[in-house]
């Protein structure tokens, strides 16, 4: 195996990682601040992708499509928070799981109703198409490189938002003691709606960005959602830093496992058995990683002690 192929796969792993981060950041914020487990986060990812595909189809502008994705997902998030989610904060996790499972059914079938069962396509804009040559002679798609950069920029922005701004202080205070900050005169239910909409917007952005390299279809959000859960379990619930480290770890493990394991098995098996056993094990690798992290640290790498 050539070094160039390996470097390409590392970049692919990074790209998957930062997109997972956009999903995981919203989930972990919502859990950290409101104590809510949201299965419908994958639906917001899907809404972002569909909004982008629809707007790009109508206007032809990728930038407008991205903005539409952000706006649609944030609006859907705020609406869902106001109508349903806010009744769930004081409920146990079982009720939260079921209500958000119900939301998935409504969103998925509703989207199928509006857009039909056939996948939509979102094209990469011309100015981002084609490969670029990186130092070392690696040819890499420009669009995927842009995804990595956007993901890292959003991660940086989120860190600054949480650590430097007034909203960030309120969010951190909300994680620690919600009664206290309500007593200090902060509109806590407004804050919850904002945090939820922010998480939704990030998910929608991820959906739109990923939508351009795969097909936009109903049910596209749930596999990503479950990967994001794995990320959060590894990183520790409520920790943005944990979400970033976990995302990159999961992204790299998943991509490199698919490349390296069949190769490794080929050393002591015949070729076809090696590729089937290798790919079967590779598909389980991130869950094995998760189990390993749990054995060492049951609350994740950066999680608070339970």
């Amino acid at each position: 195996m050539s070094l160039i192929l390996f470097a390409e796969q590392v970049l692919n792993g990074l790209q998957l990682g930062v997109m997972l981060f956009l999903m995981a950041a919203g989930l972990t914020l919502v859990f950290g601040v409101m104590g809510l487990i949201n299965l419908a986060h994958g639906s917001l990812f899907m809404i972002g992708a569909f909004a982008a595909a629809a707007v790009a189809g109508a206007t032809g502008s990728f930038l407008l499509a991205l903005m539409a994705a952000l706006a649609a997902a944030a609006a859907a998030g705020a609406l869902v928070e106001l109508v349903v989610i806010r009744r769930l904060y004081n409920r146990d996790h079982l009720d939260q799981v079921l209500a958000t499972f119900a939301l998935i059914l409504i969103f998925s079938e509703g989207t199928r109703w509006v857009f039909g069962s056939f996948p939509l396509f979102l094209n990469i804009p011309d100015y981002l198409a084609g490969p670029v040559t990186l130092p070392g002679g690696i040819q890499y798609p420009f669009y995927r490189l842009t995804l990595i950069l956007i993901g890292l920029a959003v991660a940086l922005g989120l860190f600054l938002l949480i650590s430097r701004t007034r909203l960030g202080i309120q969010i951190r205070a909300g994680e620690n003691d919600r009664e206290m900050i309500a007593a200090l005169g902060i509109n806590i239910s407004g804050l919850y709606t904002i945090v939820f909409a922010l998480g939704a917007a990030l998910a929608g952005l991820a959906g739109a960005l990923v939508g351009a390299i795969q097909s936009v279809q109903v049910g596209m959000g749930e596999p990503v959602l479950i990967l994001a859960f794995v990320v959060i379990v590894i990183g520790g619930i409520g920790s943005i830093k944990g979400a970033l480290v976990g995302s990159i770890l999961v992204g790299l493990t998943d991509t490199l496992g698919g490349l390296l394991l069949p190769e490794l098995f080929r050393q002591f098996m015949d070729s076809s058995a090696a590729s089937s056993a290798g790919s079967a094990l590779a598909s389980m690798l991130i869950y094995i990683l998760m189990a390993a992290v749990l054995i060492v640290r049951p609350t994740g790498l950066f999680g608070a002690k339970a």
């Binding site: 859990f31 487990i37 349903v84 009744r87 996790h93 079982l94 009720d95 799981v97 079921l98 209500a99 499972f101 119900a102 939301l103 998935i104 059914l105 409504i106 998925s108 079938e109 509703g110 199928r112 109703w113 749930e222 479950i226 859960f229 794995v230 959060i232 379990v233 619930i237 089937s276 790919s279 079967a280 590779a282 598909s283 389980m284 869950y287 094995i288 998760m290 189990a291 749990l294 054995i295 049951p298 609350t299 994740g300 339970a306």
Partner: protein
């Protein structure tokens, strides 16, 4: 008799009377529909032990359902090809005998539940939900990418497996088998809930610290409950695969886990007959709304949302009032 007991008796009566009526009026489809409901109810009864008695919100029970299904698929596919599963070091052959398949399904899903439970129960709350979901997903992807037993396409079995003395291809006779198993499991579950183990488990759900203080380990109680729960759901999986004569990774998917949980909730968490009522209602809705619109999951979603938000305790909770149930 309490109102809940009267309701339970009525449900049991319906499970006997309705298929008999369908049989008398020659409606084999309705018998098959009831069989499906009874099998899904059995899966729900399994989950209810973890969820209702133990308070363990497992979103990965499709793993056990699917393992049960694949136990049947693997054994029967080897039997129909006369191709032994293992020749060295000793001979293991496939089988078409239901009791043996059930035993294998229960053992395999029990072992899986023991392993998954041992890891997942180190955590609690939201972590537990996410981890059970993730382990379920792990098996799902394994089933898809492992080509030996059909991979993504699944595995078809040509003829339903045998049960001594009965013709299993006759819908009503297969239903009798399923109903007998469901009744037996319901009886054992009611005994389990009243046993000292069940009482301790219930106490561990309400106050783990107090249980620990009297010298009982909540972890062990929960692990045992989770394993029993997985075994029952595995048995249901084997029956479900036999009903369809087909097993595929869909049985392992997370939507299946969600649906099994939905049966329990619609019916009533921690109620003995909760999953039975829930599964019957689910199949009824699927049949009625599915005929009305292709997008019947929207209505199901809205209904589920309304039940969670406003009718806590499910159908049995609303009809029989608050019993000694889960709060």
């Amino acid at each position: 008799m309490s109102r809940e007991q009267i309701l339970n008796a009525a449900v049991m009566l319906a499970l006997v009377a309705f298929p008999l009526w369908a049989w008398a009026t020659d409606e084999p489809f309705l018998i098959t529909l009831t069989t499906k409901a009874a099998i899904l109810a059995l899966a729900g009864v399994g989950l209810n032990i973890a969820l209702g008695l133990g308070g363990l919100v497992s979103l990965g029970h499709a793993a056990f359902f699917g393992i049960g299904g694949y136990a049947m698929g693997v054994l029967a596919s080897h039997a129909q090809l006369y191709d032994p599963i293992l020749e060295t070091p000793f001979l293991i052959e496939g089988t078409k005998s239901m009791p043996i398949i059930w035993l294998v399904a229960i053992t395999a899903s029990g072992l899986a539940a023991l392993a998954i439970g041992a890891l997942s129960l180190r955590t609690s709350g939201v972590y537990f939900i996410m981890i059970t979901l993730a382990f379920g997903q792990m098996l799902y992807f394994f089933a898809i990418s492992w080509p030996a037993y059909g991979g993504e396409d699944g595995l078809s079995i040509y003829v339903r497996n045998d049960f001594p003395g009965l013709n299993t291809l006759d819908p009503i006779q297969f239903y009798v088998i399923v109903l007998a198993l469901l009744a037996a499991v319901l009886f054992l579950t009611s005994r389990l809930a009243k046993s000292s183990f069940g009482l301790a488990l219930n106490a561990a759900r309400q106050s783990p610290m107090r249980v620990e203080t009297v010298g009982i380990s909540p972890y062990r109680l929960r692990l045992i409950a989770f394993t029993i729960s997985g075994m029952i759901t595995g048995l249901a999986g084997a029956l479900f695969a036999d009903l369809n004569r087909f097993v595929s990774p869909t049985m392992l998917s997370w939507q299946t886990s969600g649906e099994i949980m939905v049966f329990v909730i619609i019916g009533g968490v921690a109620r003995l007959f909760g999953p039975v009522v829930g599964a019957m209602l689910f199949i009824l809705l699927e049949h009625l709304l599915g005929g009305l619109s292709d997008y019947w999951h929207v209505y199901l979603g809205v209904l589920l949302l309304l039940i969670v938000l406003f009718a806590r305790g499910g159908v049995i909770g609303s009809l029989a009032g608050r019993g000694k149930a889960h709060d």
